[in-house]
Symmetry: none
Subunit: 218 residues, 4 copies
């Protein structure tokens, strides 16, 4: 949909990469509308006109960064989808993959956050859909399968479950990145601590909050 110009594709791939990174960084810092082409070219030390040789306009530049992000996200998602094993293991794999993705491509995730509630961002819905790869589309089939196998209680509303899992996983990742949303110390936790937190999170998800004895008494 949003294609770069041929000029860009003819560039040495290191230069393509540099541009992609500079643009990503700018969009990650400022969102779509506040991002400045001026700043991007300054960062890159190229002329203002050059970027218009590479991309028709800001929209197309963003579109390219964005489809690049989707490509990366899919690379992460693919191997998880085909993974075999118990449902809760897959969940763990998923959330760890999410964190790995953020570590590897912090700008992409930041762009996602920036445009989550930004208005009139070209292609926004598509982008959000793609980067939230643990969303209903992905989780619901997993839940169905798990319920069939007896891993999940029969009377659980799976739509609601998918929705809530999405919410929790999304927030977990957000907290990993944004200190002010972090109350569990996940932000910049080391590898070991991270594992602990995720396991802790899984216990919560597995057992749920309610005391079964207490709840069943009522």
């Amino acid at each position: 949909m949003f294609q770069p110009q041929k000029t860009f594709l003819a560039l040495p791939s290191t230069k393509q990469q540099r541009l992609l990174e500079a643009a990503s960084e700018e969009f990650a810092q400022a969102g779509y509308h506040r991002a400045s082409i001026n700043r991007i070219v300054e960062r890159l030390g190229i002329a203002k006109g050059s970027i218009y040789q590479y991309f028709r306009n800001k929209e197309h530049l963003f579109g390219y960064v964005f489809s690049y992000g989707i490509k990366l996200a899919k690379q992460v998602l693919k191997p998880i989808e085909t993974t075999q094993g118990p449902f809760f293991d897959k969940l763990k794999t998923s959330i760890k993959a999410g964190i790995e993705f953020i570590k590897k491509h912090p700008f992409i995730y930041h762009i996602y956050l920036k445009i989550l509630f930004e208005e009139k961002v070209p292609g926004r819905e598509r982008f959000i859909q793609a980067v939230r790869f643990y969303s209903r589309e992905y989780l619901f089939p997993l839940l169905e399968e798990a319920q069939k196998k007896g891993e999940i209680k029969e009377d659980i509303d799976l739509e609601m479950a998918a929705f809530m899992l999405d919410a929790m996983m999304d927030r977990l990742l957000q907290a990993y990145v944004l200190p002010y949303l972090d109350s569990i110390g996940i932000h910049q936790a080391d590898e070991k601590k991270l594992d602990e937190i995720i396991d802790n999170w899984l216990i919560f998800v597995k057992r749920g909050l309610a005391n079964n004895h207490f709840a069943s008494e009522r």
Copy 2:
């Protein structure tokens, strides 16, 4: 911190109110940076200079809207905090109060969403903290009390529980407002349907996802 000028305080309170509403609406629609003072004064039919008599600048204007939002949020929070009864009832009250708040003050909530991930918004963290009134600060003490009373399993990590509850409640409220998240049908639901969804959610929260028999066997 961000005070209006004395000129503003001398204004008839109806005019103060109108200004507050116009500004809220603009910030809700456009976020902080993309909000336009031009549009605000147009909406109000006052001179552009006047708004600078009332507030030192955009930052201070936003600060005022913002403290107004916090005040409103606290009004909702106070009565809930003092409510007596079982923990899960309080939770239900909380989420319903949240929805009531959004209904009553849609602009405030939208501002919260808009600035959630916006950079360089003056006082952003404070505002977000305050409007997310079901955040850790509020939930953790409730959870502690509930655990003491035996309503909640002893081996649950309360920090994690507060974090997750926060995440889920936040997303529930977002779903109420944003069509793109309405896979669970909460968007624009009628009063009755809404109750159903919240009850459903509570069951989910109470019992958790995991099949206890299955889980305990492993």
Copy 3:
């Protein structure tokens, strides 16, 4: 249709006039597309932003200059239309009025010339129609009346006559302004010479080219 902003109308009329003249001059020199807002504000010694307080954009600025031109043209046209007397006297009055108009408002006429064949000029047709006030619309009724009175041969095709008169008068005015179209010495001729040329032109128009004796013989 193209309105100035209230800000402009509130300006002291001398300033309005200065702006109008500066803009007219620029549009007259460069046409619509090549006209530069930058140059206009430079000429005026005002800030770039100011002109956008006065007019929504270039299109509206041009629209205003243009409707001002139409107003002036109508002021010239009105008195001629109501003039009584022989047809050929009216023709003479018309062409002299045209020259007077050009003398008084050289920029307006130059704008007309500039946009005659310029593409995508907002409101171009309307403008051209209005400034070519000796066009078919104006000439045809006069010719009809003259024919009725016997001033003009009965077998003359009046549409063709109007068309040709328009062509000749238009070119006369163009030659008055543009040296390279002038082969009869009308360009910047003095009052006396001008009268002579116009009379000469009228003879040509009255009698036509053809030698009647010769023509009738064939």
Copy 4:
């Protein structure tokens, strides 16, 4: 004056021709200044740099198109000049030749119209002079000859006659091309209709507007 580079002359003549046509088309559509080298090379599918191998710059490219136009115009003009016969027959031949020229080389004529009143077009006057091949230079000698032969009244000012004929013929050709001037139905007229119109025009030219009886009485 404006020469192509040797590189261009070494090109196969089909390529030369293609370039000429593409450039003509662009200049015809956009005039001189708004014409875009970008679009020309796009149309041709050649590299932007190449065109600067062929022509020093835009000015020289235009100059070449322009001298090509003059060459074509002269090809049309030559045979007419040498034609023998009555003056009014020559006039008819002339205007028909003009229409033929426009049909055959629409871009050249459109360029003429576009730059008629455009400022700072290199060589503009020369080009206009050449393409308006029924101008004073051409018409005046014909008129002199005709007057000598008694085809034209003795007391006609030939300079004025040439001027007016030029004006009328020019406008006739414009009407053939531009819909907004087609009050006389010349626009896109079929061959037969066209002949009729030209004859009608000739009658007008021959006899003139004035009623001789009426005029002579006064």
